[in-house]
Assembly symmetry: C2
Homo-oligomer: 296 residues x 2
Amino acid sequence: MATELINKMAVIGVGLIGGSLALALKRAGVVRHISGWDTDPENLQLAEALQVVDTAATSAADAVCSADVVVLAVPVGSMAAAAQAVLPYMRSGSVLSDTGSVKQCVVEQVEPLARQAGVHFVAAHPISGTEHSGAAAAFAELFSGKRCIVTYGAATDTAALELVSALWRAAGSEVVCMDTLKHDRILAAISHLPHMIAYALVNSVSAYDQYDENILDYSAGGFRDFTRIASSDPVMWRDIALANKGALLEMIEQFEGFLAELKQDIHRGDGGRLYEFFRRSKNSRDALLHKEAKER
Amino acid sequence: MATELINKMAVIGVGLIGGSLALALKRAGVVRHISGWDTDPENLQLAEALQVVDTAATSAADAVCSADVVVLAVPVGSMAAAAQAVLPYMRSGSVLSDTGSVKQCVVEQVEPLARQAGVHFVAAHPISGTEHSGAAAAFAELFSGKRCIVTYGAATDTAALELVSALWRAAGSEVVCMDTLKHDRILAAISHLPHMIAYALVNSVSAYDQYDENILDYSAGGFRDFTRIASSDPVMWRDIALANKGALLEMIEQFEGFLAELKQDIHRGDGGRLYEFFRRSKNSRDALLHKEAKER
């Protein structure tokens, strides 16, 4: 389905995600004009200088004025404040969306505000990213071939849901629709838990200062690659950890159980069980890779 | 220091590590002839067909006959058996080495056997690898710019230590010498612990089957990259976990402490402490990257 041309779109937060969405939609030719706004003036200027957005707005109100679609691409913890800043200036019947990594709490905060303003809110989450941030890190191909989850509830407007889905498809994503709770639990497992583990691992190894020299000096590519995600933005991840608390605590506890099982097998010197534990893990991961390869 | 030409070297176990060492040393021109042996006949044939070794020996005894240096590149758990298979056929005064990822247990098992046979044993561990295995995965650049730890004890022969160090330098490695205990603790932190975590994470997420579909389908590059090392050889990692039990259990417990701290901060909703935890981790890892970049 080809996407109808949208006249004006506003992106609030022109960092890696917001900036890449703007670049992808301009490249796809589905939006005539994209106005950007950012609470960081330097980043906003950079976004305009790098032509990530067509114009840097002078205020959030200016950015969303007469926009058909407004996308909030800010950390999850700033979502409600960003919605409050733009909703009074959005035209009735227009569409508000977001790119937050947690959905239930964003919907709970933003949907009632949007309804009061006569605006349709549709929550979305592109499952893509790098450990870099800011407008300079944005690139049009970020969402290419990646999934974007668009969530819905009883209050979601069908036409708005279709429009937001079509925009993400135009940006190159495969769109999957599901309810917010399912989204939050799946993301806790495949993204939020790995980030918590990477952060804890780096701190744990850094604290191991028994020797004078820095033992991280001995790490080969394995450790560097394994901990790549521990270089992600601390503000973003603080917000995600707070916003997806329930599902995340559940996943951490499940992981702790598996690690405890492994520890017990090592303690007992049970080679048979250790082999089986590692083999099962390798098989699951290899199956994931084969599936990905087939899909390409 | 240029390495003197060695007449004959034998590699026992022509997989990723043994095969890559053979390729690197032939390319450096420091060994005249490399004979290979492997308990897996198919892999041995492959190593010869791919010219990873000059000749596939007909037996372990044949491989090491009149060799100046013999390198055992087999899983840590097979090290003692491999040493017993070759030592009776090695000439007095020649050098035996290994590539195992754990050093204390290998030295304890192999050094007394070598001494009885009049052979000098020097334990070594190249800190390089990929998640692939077998002769087909071998390549000459595997050790380029990577560290190789050569360990020593009171019984280590100085000339043999020099020879083994020179070979690894010829293969492209930066050689660092240290005692076995220090090696085992550093490796537990930067390599063995991350592998245990990756294996436990994949099993934990795979077991989360609350939904009909496979939630791993939703994983973006992050999860795939983060769990790359969970595709490593289960036999190799069973052996490492058993052989470095003490240091590894200590590291797992230290990691569990950090994860518990993080879990408590999430539970309490303490944004300040969460931010500080993530920031500290990001700083440590970013410092590691900057250091690597400067060294290049």
